[in-house]
């Protein structure tokens, strides 16, 4: 069990896997060896058993003729068995030969060369067995002699040329840039030699060489053509695309190709493009295209140094002579946060952290499954075209479209803030509703979107953080103002307390007065009820008697009254009664 063995307790998916990746070469070597072994054993059993146990079989009643027929059948099976065995053996050759060539270490590379040489010699030896050693026809022999070549040497040269041609000619037809005149010339030469060979009467060898050459060439060319369908991530390549991929492969074999780039998801533009297959953009020998590969979230702008060739992708992009990547375009929303410093209408400096989310204008298209992230090629062109060179610092720097949008947004926000007074930015006395920042933010988004739209940039959204005074002392001043307001409220609260105290005391005082008045009223009613006369004298006496009553009924009241009052009360009483 490998270290990757896990089992998720919730869904029960077993993630137990073979500890090593099964490589196709290893798999097929094992399979072929196993199959050959089984076939050999299956064939070996009757071969060994039948002749050696024939007497026993005869003893058991099997007729000798039947046994002879079986043995004869087995002898005839040797050819199909040889075919099957040869087939398996061929598979092992392919696996072994390929395996050593796939290793890059020097000993393996040497081993690969040695193995190839050994196989070449084996093949040569097997071909020579077909040569009957016949002489050149007289006409040809004389012709060669005319060039000083002895007929024996000439026939050897022809044989050598023909055998070398078997692997070389198909390769020549594939390899760039040799496949042109040279391949045609050598092919004609080989054909001539083959005709000489036929003329020599070496029919068997000639036929084997011809079939070998044709078969090798066909396998090589058809094989490469079929393989090229799978080399690049292209869904269903048409004829033209297949040809391009094959030509790219052929250019790559001899290193005359245009470069091939991969667009990666690195953060910096300069790291986004990797030249994976180096090549010459101005290669005169390349017939195939160059290549750019990008994922569904990146497009590329291509130009050839003179002419803008458009924005392409995502996916596989074939390039032509001189083409290079001008710039990659990330099709995902780009988010840019920045701090804007601005002056208010009344000249107070504020800082506003702002942010925008933008993308190359998709013209109202939304992402959908089965499609790349949407964008408009014309919008992408506009966005790239609007980019400018910034001269800040020592080196002028190219400002990318996303940075350009940021710069525009900065300016828009500065303009908006300059129309507000400092206090209006917060609206402390605004009765309800949204805070001014929200209105500023909406204005900011609308104006920025309007400015970016002609540049092919779509504003997904924009927003502002707190509008902060550049000097943090403003916060303290605001807090002080808040404090003053609260001091006023505190004083009011204290005054309210005092007022409440006064009210309570006065209420008690009023109670006492009410008591006196009501007492007067009651006595007046009592007097009236008794039928007494209610003239001013009687009323005065009543009033004075009530006062006296108050004093006499409550001795403690008398203690509180000044002596003059007591005396005055006595005087008044005596005056009234007199």
């Amino acid at each position: 069990m490998s270290s990757d063995d896990t089992r998720d307790p919730q869904n029960g998916i077993s993630t137990t896997f073979d500890s090593r990746l099964i490589t196709p070469i290893r798999f097929y070597v094992q399979t072929i060896v196993f199959a050959l072994g089984m076939a050999a054993v299956a064939y070996l059993y009757p071969i060994v058993l039948l002749p050696n146990f024939r007497y026993m079989l005869e003893f058991w009643g099997v007729r000798p003729e039947t046994i002879a027929s079986l043995i004869s059948l087995l002898a005839k099976l040797s050819t199909p068995f040889a075919l099957l065995f040869g087939w398996g053996l061929g598979g092992l050759y392919v696996c072994g030969w390929l395996a050593v060539w796939l290793k890059r270490a020097t000993p393996w590379r040497v081993g690969a060369i040695v193995l190839t040489a050994v196989l070449a010699i084996l093949w040569l030896v097997s071909i020579l067995r077909f040569v009957e050693g016949k002489a050149l026809p007289e006409v040809l022999a004389y012709s060669f002699q005319a060039f000083g070549i002895p007929p024996k040497v000439a026939s050897t040269l022809i044989l050598l040329g023909l055998t070398v041609g078997v692997p070389v000619l198909p390769l020549l037809w594939v390899i760039r840039p040799l496949e042109g005149f040279l391949a045609r010339f050598l092919s004609i030469l080989w054909l001539l030699m083959w005709l000489f060979f036929v003329a020599m009467g070496e029919f068997r060898a000639a036929l084997v060489l011809l079939v070998s050459t044709i078969a090798t060439g066909a396998v090589l060319l058809v094989g490469l053509r079929l393989t090229s369908d799978y080399l690049l991530p292209i869904p269903r390549p048409d004829r033209e695309t297949r040809r391009k991929v094959l030509d790219l492969l052929r250019d790559h074999i001899m290193g005359v190709n245009y470069p091939a780039y991969i667009v990666t998801d690195e953060p910096y533009e300069e790291d986004k493009v990797e030249e994976r297959i180096p090549g010459d953009k101005l290669s005169r020998l390349a017939i195939g295209p160059g290549l750019i590969l990008s994922d569904c979230d990146h497009a590329v702008a291509v130009f050839d140094g003179f002419k803008f060739k458009g924005v392409h992708g995502p996916g596989v992009i074939f390039t032509k002579y001189g083409d290079r990547i001008l710039q990659t375009i990330d099709l995902r929303p780009q988010f840019r946060g920045f701090m804007v410093e601005a002056l208010t209408k009344d000249g107070i400096k504020v800082k506003v952290p702002a942010a925008i989310a933008i993308q190359v204008d998709p013209h109202d298209k939304t992402p959908k499954l089965g499609e790349p992230l949407p964008y408009s090629k014309s919008a992408a062109f506009k966005a790239l075209h609007a980019q400018r060179v910034e001269h800040q610092g020592d080196e002028p720097q190219k400002s990318e479209w996303a940075s350009l949008a940021r710069e525009i947004a900065e300016r828009v926000l500065q303009d908006i803030i300059s129309t507000y007074r400092f206090d209006d930015l917060y609206g402390p006395y605004q009765p309800g509703g949204d805070p001014p920042r929200k209105a500023i933010s909406a204005k900011f988004s609308a104006q920025t979107a309007a400015e970016l739209e002609p540049l092919g940039i779509h504003l997904i959204g924009g927003g502002l953080n707190n509008i902060q005074p550049a000097d943090s002392a403003v916060y303290l001043k605001r807090a002080s103002s808040w404090q003053a307001d609260w001091m006023r409220k505190t004083m009011l609260k204290q005054a309210e307390g005092q007022a409440e105290w006064l009210r309570t005391v006065e209420r008690a005082r009023a109670d006492a007065q009410v008591d006196l008045i009501l007492r007067l009223g009651r006595q007046l009613e009592e007097l009236s009820a008794k039928g007494g006369e209610l003239n001013p004298e009687a009323t005065l006496r009543l009033l004075v008697s009530v006062l006296e009553g108050l004093v006499s009924q409550q001795p403690s009241l008398g203690q509180l009254l000044p002596e003059e009052t007591m005396r005055a009360l006595v005087d008044i009483r005596s005056v009234i009664h007199d």
């Binding site: 090589l220 393989t227 303290l476």
Partner: protein, 457 residues
């Protein structure tokens, strides 16, 4: 979507069948044809010696067949060579183009792409919202064929041929040719605590922690208990796709190079919304204790935030589970300013509290004094004041007139009494009955009978 029934395809026979079939149809068939031609040539060469192959019945052996097989394959060596050269050249290109570790890896990859996968490997595993295995492998970088294992806490969006391809949930899936994982989405509930710096209505900086829990929008359809157990984190494909395509790319040098859907819920939505809400309140309202009958300010703010978030984050494919907010305090991102602000506001807050306390104490004192008044002493004091005032009024009248005129004296007495009631507080607390009595006294004195309507007036 969920390929739980994919076990069938993972039986040992099925694991290799596709590759074997395609290999036999192409390389196998070519090799068979080449061997057949080689065998034919060899048999032709042996010509008359054919009986050598036709073995004598008495000496049957395997070796003539093996020798014939070797001879046939020797003749087919150029074709075998071509079968080696083709994948070798393709592997070279793939090796360079996709920066594989070596040619062998490139050959394995091109073999998989052309003929299909052998066995279960390679595999890419996604769990906890990320790729946990195989991200840097060929299958992870370039694509399948490969096995993709997705755990039930994750959903995956794949891409192929430069286009988004499909959305895959929990289970074992087969990635097609050049299909790879484009985005992974964590389906587990996401919990973020985030400090929001805002300004109050009067522009004083405050800080408040937003405590948010949310997750990818799940399927609208009701689910059975079994489904809930087998799929604890349900999702809707639309929501996953929305979340995947709503990733924002930041400036290259930014410490947070990408802002995922979860980050956007918190930073782009909750942060802005809470800031807007707080900007509508005054500081004292935010930090004061709630008034009787009023909702606590934090709860009101929380409710508003939750409502707005629930309405908005569906655009990112997310669903809000809970919203809480922490203490609202006076704070800026600058420590020194914060210290000064805190000092200032808390001092004032204490003074306000003290003033409130003082006012309550005064009221209590007043109530205490009133109690005293009702306890005779104070009442006596008031009565004494009245006796003094009224006596002085009578005495002054006698002194002015030089003689006793009862009518004028009684009138003066009542007038003095009436004046006492004109005191603001006394007048306020004087019951109508007392006022009527006073009027009746005066009328009696003047010898007028008092009509009921006049009493009322």
């Amino acid at each position: 979507m969920t390929d739980m029934s994919g076990e069938k395809s993972h039986r040992s026979s099925g694991k290799y069948a596709g590759n074997i079939k395609r290999t036999m149809r192409t390389i196998g068939a070519t090799l068979f044809a080449a061997t057949l031609l080689g065998l034919a040539a060899e048999l032709w060469l042996r010509g008359a010696e054919a009986p050598a192959v036709q073995q004598p019945t008495e000496t049957l052996s395997i070796w003539p067949s093996v020798s014939l097989a070797f001879a046939a394959t020797r003749i087919a060596i150029p074709v075998i060579g071509a079968l080696v050269v083709v994948p070798l050249l393709a592997s070279r290109l793939i090796h360079k183009l996709h920066a594989t570790g070596d040619l062998e890896e490139a050959h394995n990859a091109i073999n998989r792409i052309a003929f299909g996968k052998l066995g279960r490997r390679p595999y890419v595993m996604a769990r906890e919202g990320r790729i946990t295995h195989g991200e840097d492998s060929f299958a992870g970088r370039v694509g399948g064929p490969a096995t993709l294992i997705v755990f039930n806490d994750t959903a995956v969006v794949t891409e192929q041929y430069g286009r988004t391809k499909r959305i895959l949930g929990a289970g074992r899936h087969e990635l097609e040719r050049y299909e790879k994982v484009w985005e992974t989405i964590d389906l587990r509930p996401q919990h973020w605590v985030y400090a929001v710096y805002a300004l109050t209505k009067e522009g004083i900086p405050v800080c408040c922690e937003a405590d948010l829990t949310f997750q990818i929008e799940d399927r609208p359809a009701a689910r059975s208990q079994d489904q809930q157990e087998s799929e604890p984190y349900p999702y809707s494909e639309d929501a996953v796709f929305l979340a995947a395509t709503n990733k924002w790319i930041r400036e290259p040098d930014h410490p947070e190079p990408v802002r995922t859907w979860a980050g956007r819920v918190v930073i782009s939505y909750a942060d802005g919304m809470l800031r807007d809400i707080l900007a509508g309140y005054r500081l004292d309202w935010l930090i004061a204790p709630p008034q009787p009958g009023q909702q606590p300010p934090r709860e009101e703010i929380r409710q508003r935030l939750e409502e707005e978030l629930r309405r908005s984050i569906g655009r990112l494919g997310a669903r809000m589970l809970s919203v809480r907010i922490g203490k609202i305090e006076v704070k800026t991102q600058d420590e020194e300013t914060t210290r000064q602000l805190v000092e200032l506001t808390s001092k004032q807050w204490i003074e306000t509290w003290h003033a409130d306390l003082e006012a309550r104490a005064l009221v209590s004192r007043a109530e205490g004094e009133a109690e005293l008044l009702r306890m005779d002493t104070a009442r006596l004091q008031a009565q004494a004041e009245m006796v003094v005032t009224l006596t002085e009024a009578l005495q002054t009248t006698i002194a002015k007139q030089g003689q006793v005129q009862p009518y004028i004296m009684a009138l003066r007495f009542l007038e003095a009494l009436r004046w006492m009631t004109y005191n603001t507080y006394a007048h306020e607390f004087m019951p109508p009955e007392a006022m009527r009595t006073l009027k009746r006294l005066q009328a009696t004195l003047e010898g007028k009978p008092l009509l009921p309507e006049e009493e009322v007036a």
